[in-house]
Subunit: 427 residues, 2 copies
Amino acid sequence: MKQKIKTTAVSGFPEYLPADQLLLDQLKQTIAETYRSFAFIPLDTPVLERREVLLAKAGGETEHQIYCLENNSDDLALRFDLTVPLARYISEYGGVLTFPFKRYQIAKVYRGERPQKGRYREFYQADIDIIGEGLLSLNAEAEIIKVIATVFEKLAIGPFTIKIGNRKLLSGLLASLNLSELAVEILRILDKLPKIGEHACREELEKLGLNSSAVKEILNFASLKENVLEKLELLNIKNPDFVVGLGELQELAQCLADYGVAAAHYSFDLSIARGLDYYTGTVWETFLDDYPELGSICSGGRYENLVTGFNDRAFPGVGASIGLSRLFYQLKTVGLLPDLPVAAADALIISADRQRGEELADSLRRQGLNVTGAYGPEKLKKKLTLANRLSVKTVYLLGEEELDADEVSIKDMVTGSQNRQALSDFI
Amino acid sequence: MKQKIKTTAVSGFPEYLPADQLLLDQLKQTIAETYRSFAFIPLDTPVLERREVLLAKAGGETEHQIYCLENNSDDLALRFDLTVPLARYISEYGGVLTFPFKRYQIAKVYRGERPQKGRYREFYQADIDIIGEGLLSLNAEAEIIKVIATVFEKLAIGPFTIKIGNRKLLSGLLASLNLSELAVEILRILDKLPKIGEHACREELEKLGLNSSAVKEILNFASLKENVLEKLELLNIKNPDFVVGLGELQELAQCLADYGVAAAHYSFDLSIARGLDYYTGTVWETFLDDYPELGSICSGGRYENLVTGFNDRAFPGVGASIGLSRLFYQLKTVGLLPDLPVAAADALIISADRQRGEELADSLRRQGLNVTGAYGPEKLKKKLTLANRLSVKTVYLLGEEELDADEVSIKDMVTGSQNRQALSDFI
């Protein structure tokens, strides 16, 4: 006997039943519409890239997580993020594009890692970047942060804070303490500060061989929370990187105010270091105020040159990325998604006459509603069950009686109320 | 010296510059919105499937075109269409889904074939299907055909005809001529009828060994164009398949009229046979009246059971597929896409004051416009060039003079006309 074929979902490759699918799609739409409203264009690069392109930019673990195709002469592999394809695109078409180049891409990426709860092998990222040619002002940071703040306002998942740091400040501070050589290790420890706390951080820093005055200065710096800009000036550090970084942070503060980003949505936090090496200036992470345990739900920052490794020209950029599939899983887990299901249809037409039914349906579709019809011989009760299962908001009934009177019964499926209206109001 | 990494697009994997990207995205949006307006939900299955799932349904050449991943324990491969993943999904979740199940999926599929003009290895399909449980009435055909007709009306690419046939009629006719065993070969020849003409078809049919009266009957049947339903009745064929097929076509004619599909958009054409074996009843192909040489731009039909090979239950369906990437290439080639480029931004704000500029931008965004700002020190002329390159429709100027007067200069970039308005009209 032929063995049965497995039709279950493959571990790490999420797929959803309609209710969740509609909800996820709504999140995607909200993010895309917000990106579009700031005039970012929807770039759509191939899912497959040459392996060498991916390897040129893959660091650390990622390199071993790349899915490669077998037996193909182009040596193709699946992208592991949306930044490397953007870098290749800019490197290839930089000569004919218009800068600043503002693009978004909401698409799937692939990592062959061991799947865990909320960590997938195929997952959506929702990226947004502004790329400059030669130069790119700090307005770009303000704009991207404003877009991100607008996205999370619209998603309505509770209060959030975009915590903003600057890598030049951190590296300048370390240079002024003659600790540049230990920068990578120190940043890695500071990244854990919110999780493990100051005491554990101090111990780890001391283990690195730092003297207690340096440890104190670093922890003091990373713990600055209120009036950060003034306190940074008072540190009076002369290191050139630090001075530039402080200037950038001051200018960014002004930009964010000018761009109208609500003060409640961001703060300066110098412990933010971001794991990715390619950020060179401003960096940020985003936290839900009531759910800090979820970790950052959107990270981003400034990179000096996007196309390093592909091209000798300078294309500085600012970008942010939302790990959409993971965020969806997290929001579902903590119960932050809307209580009411997204309707598969705004309206269901139940009609004894197919033609009149579709005329009504078309008039509602022209009003922008998503409308489905039930014209079969099934019982009314069965059709109303269908309406409930599709989370339909309004049912339009055209029974024999209504048709004879040229009327339609309109049933609000949320309140249960029902009224009659002349068909001519619609058709 | 390190060898330079190739950043060009890989052959067969299309990517676009912004102007084309925006246009393609607009086509995608129009199709998706139309599908949505009929209350189809946006299913989104993984790009990767188990190889055995794909092989269970891959026929002929397709089997050899499947891209497989190397070194992975799940034996994953890239989907070659969107129907097989739908079949797997229905087979797996059929017990908890609501039927009729109406879904669309606009997504990339993969075929490792030799790329040619307009034929890609990675390309978009825009699929729509209605799946029933046990039974599915001919309303499903009417609905899908109506959706497809609405899509092509909205795309505004000129007059089109959905040519509708029925496989039962064809196979019934062949059975009545004792030619069932040659059905596959005969259908393949008939499929070429519009391209090679009646004379060449006759020769090919005769080469198969058919006698001249059978050839005449088949060609007569396949050439029926006007009053097809009446002429079919006059043929007086008693084969049960034929009788059922004729009944279906008659009922479909009534359904299409009831659903309000414009008569100009479809015709009955019995030469339509569709290559894919899984269609069992109604079949159709769609042609642009002025560009028949493009071939069918949307095919579809009825299949008796979607999940054959996965499951023993019966899930009949009706579906259609638009080969979006290929269609986009074709429309571009024959010049059927809009003359005016899609705007990357509806409005560009040029302001000497960042804050007032963003206030104005936000007020326009709230009106649903896509708005970008230019607040840098660059000259006005350079910023207007940016507006042109982004195909911006309207530029809002807030120079020192305007700001002093609390006004804004509004420049229509299409007509070139300019006027001034109070800023308070917006903010």
